[in-house]
């Protein structure tokens, strides 16, 4: 493999099937354009409009046809060029890897660390960055709100990563635990008047209990069957919330949930409020920034716990369980306990995130916990690369941030006409991104798994 030169003139052609000559690429792209022309003549070239009288009028649109053909030509050419380049690089990388000794390889795999520190630095200073970037704290509110939204999904992604990424149990109903957490806070605070700081751990406990509740019936299931049952579980929770009106308020939800306080000090104007006590002038932004740091801390706790767990026997048992359940059992690992703890811990973090969601929104309804939410959280985990922590962050930014970006593409209206609304194409782009990922990075953005122990650590 490393010694292709001895194969003589055949070797380059074999290792570079896509690196064909440029004229051939042009010809190929031209062929594509020709096919487009053929297809578009009957479909696009003439438009029928209602004419003056009763008949139809034909409008020729040859300009559109020409631009379509040109677009296809350019796209095809770009695709071939990029793909050729990608596969050439991949070959080079494989060759380089084969040359390097296999033992040295794991040491080089640490690009995540620098990226992680950078992301953390940005996350810690985001309110300041937003204020600087948009010229004032209140003007930067949009960015801080977006940050809160992304961090919520990062936390949910990390929580689900325990179940799906580490323990390998495909959970399609994760949003159910998010709902349990949100409703726990909503009900405990509105009915019993408990404060957020008491409800937060309770919400986690309730969600964990539901995690175990789901865990028991699915202990013997794997793969597709597990996915179906968890999917059903998510729907059951949602339907119960809709239909048990006395308990949950039905589809109207629960409103006027008490807002978060700064460890007992409310964010209100005037005497005894947060601004008053700390000698600041009142601003509604204090609460938003507080919420931002609250979810940041919650998310970081999730991350630290996950990373710690991976080094403990239980965390390693999760990973072993993902690899081979039978081998696990024959090594004396109790798979029942292992699975249930994965479900419970993952659910607990969803419960925390849920009660944060309730305190931020001040309103919960079953609408917020539909299957699409589960799908998005799962997509974040899968796109991020199962089991990769930084991958989840990147995927959450892409999955949650990109639709927001679409909203700001107003200038496209000038190109496609006034009726064009970019955010309507959200799911289309979502699907395209999924397909692209499956083609180019089927194991997720960050697909390398770092060993939980390495040489230097083992020789403590």
């Amino acid at each position: 493999m490393a010694n292709t030169s001895t194969l003589g003139p055949i070797a380059p052609a074999m290792t570079r099937p896509t690196g064909t000559a440029f004229p051939a690429l042009l010809k190929d792209a031209a062929l594509f354009a020709l096919v487009t022309l053929g297809l578009s003549i009957p479909v696009v070239a003439y438009r029928t409009d209602l004419g003056q009288g009763t008949g139809l009028e034909l409008t020729a649109r040859w300009g559109l046809v020409a631009s379509l053909c040109l677009a296809v030509f350019v796209l095809r050419l770009a695709q071939r060029l990029i793909l050729g380049e990608v596969s050439r690089r991949r070959d080079a990388r494989i060759r380089a890897r084969a040359d390097a000794s296999a033992v040295a390889a794991p040491k080089a795999l640490r690009p995540g660390r620098a990226l992680g520190s950078l992301t953390l630095a940005v996350a810690l200073t985001l309110p300041a960055l937003a204020a600087l970037g948009s010229g004032g704290l209140s003007e930067g509110r949009y960015w801080i709100d977006l940050g809160i939204l992304i961090l919520t999904y990062v936390m949910l992604g990390w929580g689900l990563n325990i179940v799906v990424g580490l323990a390998g149990l495909l959970d399609l109903g994760y949003v159910a635990f998010y709902a349990v957490g949100a409703y726990s806070y909503a009900l405990l605070s509105t009915v019993f008047g408990l404060s957020f700081w008491i409800c937060l751990p309770l919400a986690g406990l309730f969600a964990a209990a539901f995690g175990i509740l789901l865990g028991f019936p699915v202990l013997r299931l794997r793969g597709d069957y597990l996915a179906i049952v968890t999917l059903a579980f998510g729907e059951i929770i949602r339907l119960v919330l809709i239909n048990w009106v006395d308990f949950s308020g039905g589809s109207a939800g629960i409103s006027s949930i008490p807002r978060a306080s700064f460890f007992g000090i409310p964010f209100t104007k005037g005497e005894g409020g947060f601004a008053d006590l700390f000698g600041l002038s009142f601003s509604p932004m204090h609460r938003v920034i507080f919420l931002y740091y609250l979810i940041l801390v919650l998310a970081l706790i999730t991350n630290v716990v996950t990373l710690r767990m991976r080094r403990l026997p239980l965390g390693r048992a999760w990973e072993a369980l993902r690899e081979d359940e039978i081998a696990c059992r024959s090594l004396g690992i109790d798979t029942t306990i292992t699975k249930l703890t994965a479900f419970a811990l993952g659910a607990m973090f969803a419960g925390f995130a849920g009660s944060f969601f309730a305190v931020r929104q001040g309103f919960v309804s079953p609408e917020s916990f539909n299957f699409l939410e589960s799908a998005i959280i799962l997509a974040i985990v899968v796109l991020g690369g199962m089991g990769s922590q930084i991958g989840v962050v990147i995927a959450a930014i892409v999955m949650v941030g990109a639709p927001e970006l679409l909203r700001n593409l107003g200038f496209l209206k000038a190109v496609f006409g006034q009726g064009f609304d970019p955010s309507e194409y959200r799911l289309l782009l979502f699907g395209l991104a999924m397909v692209a990922m499956m083609v180019w990075r089927p194991r997720g953005l960050i697909s390398e798994r770092h060993p939980s122990v390495r040489l230097s650590e083992a020789k403590r």
Binding site: V103, P106, R316, E319, R322, E323, A327, G332, R454
Partner: protein, 260 residues
């Protein structure tokens, strides 16, 4: 006296001593079912302390089923299985594995995305990784190939290396009885020799008791002190390894290919 001679003497002494004590593992009249199909039909097998015992038989004879039944999956519907004086017939798999009884399962079943070291750690999970460093050292001496690949992912290794890893992983729990299910499956003859030599070493030096299930009858019987032959769910023959090797029926069925 030659080294081989001493070894034979050691083996014989051990066999005599073992025969006096109760067997380490005893399988009595065990039947197991897959649904309504009776896969084991009243099997009796004894493994004494310090012995290597081989179980040979054709494809589908129930060898692996017996191995898995000892490990509680499927559980025996009739009969009893005793290990070190304790009845383990109804114990769940993971509790059996915590009783100084280790298994290298059929098809190796190593954790392919985890490194060799992590695989070995999983093997040591039973005793909480107490003497992990020491045992790791021991495994690296036993299989130097694993030392070379200690931080490599298990799934990227060759079949032979994976088999070594599977055995090493089982040994990490410091078992009294090691059960090997088809360790030679799909491996090159040279690698098979290496692995069998390592097993023989473990038995002679550390007095490890080994129960080995094999299709490769010649190698297994050469290695074993005693052997059993299994045909369609029942044990049909037993004796010392050499006696079975010399038996005309065994020769015809398992050594020269053919009549079964």
């Amino acid at each position: 006296m030659s080294v081989a001679g001493i070894n034979v003497l050691v083996d014989e002494t051990r066999a005599r001593m073992a025969a006096a004590a109760p067997p380490l593992l005893s399988v009595r009249n065990v039947s197991a079912y897959y649904g309504s199909i009776r896969a084991l039909k009243g099997v009796d097998i004894d493994v004494n302390e310090g012995e290597i015992v081989a179980l040979i038989g054709a494809n589908g004879a129930g060898k692996s089923t017996l191995m898995m039944t000892i490990f509680g999956q499927p559980q025996a519907r009739e009969g009893t299985i005793t290990f070190a004086g304790q009845d383990i017939t109804r114990l769940p798999t993971h509790e059996i594995a915590r009783l100084n009884l280790a298994q290298s399962p059929e098809g190796r079943r190593i954790f392919s995305r985890m490194t060799v070291r992590e695989n070995l750690q999983m093997g040591a999970a039973v005793n909480g990784g107490k003497h992990f460093a020491e045992d790791l050292e021991r495994m690296c001496t036993l299989f130097p190939r694993l030392a070379e690949r200690i931080d490599q992912r298990g799934g990227t290794m060759s079949g032979g290396e994976q088999q070594m890893l599977a055995i090493a992983r089982a040994l990490m729990s410091r078992p009294r009885l090691l059960m090997l299910d088809e360790p030679s499956l799909g491996l090159a003859p040279l690698v098979v020799k290496q692995i069998f030599a390592a097993v023989r070493d473990l038995n002679r030096r550390d007095g490890l008791t080994v129960f080995i299930v094999e299709q490769n009858a010649y190698h297994a019987l050469k290695l074993a002190h005693r052997g059993y032959v299994m045909v369609t769910g029942s044990v049909t023959m037993s004796g010392t390894g050499q006696a079975l090797l010399d038996d005309p029926q065994v020769k015809a069925a398992y050594l020269e290919g053919g009549q079964h």
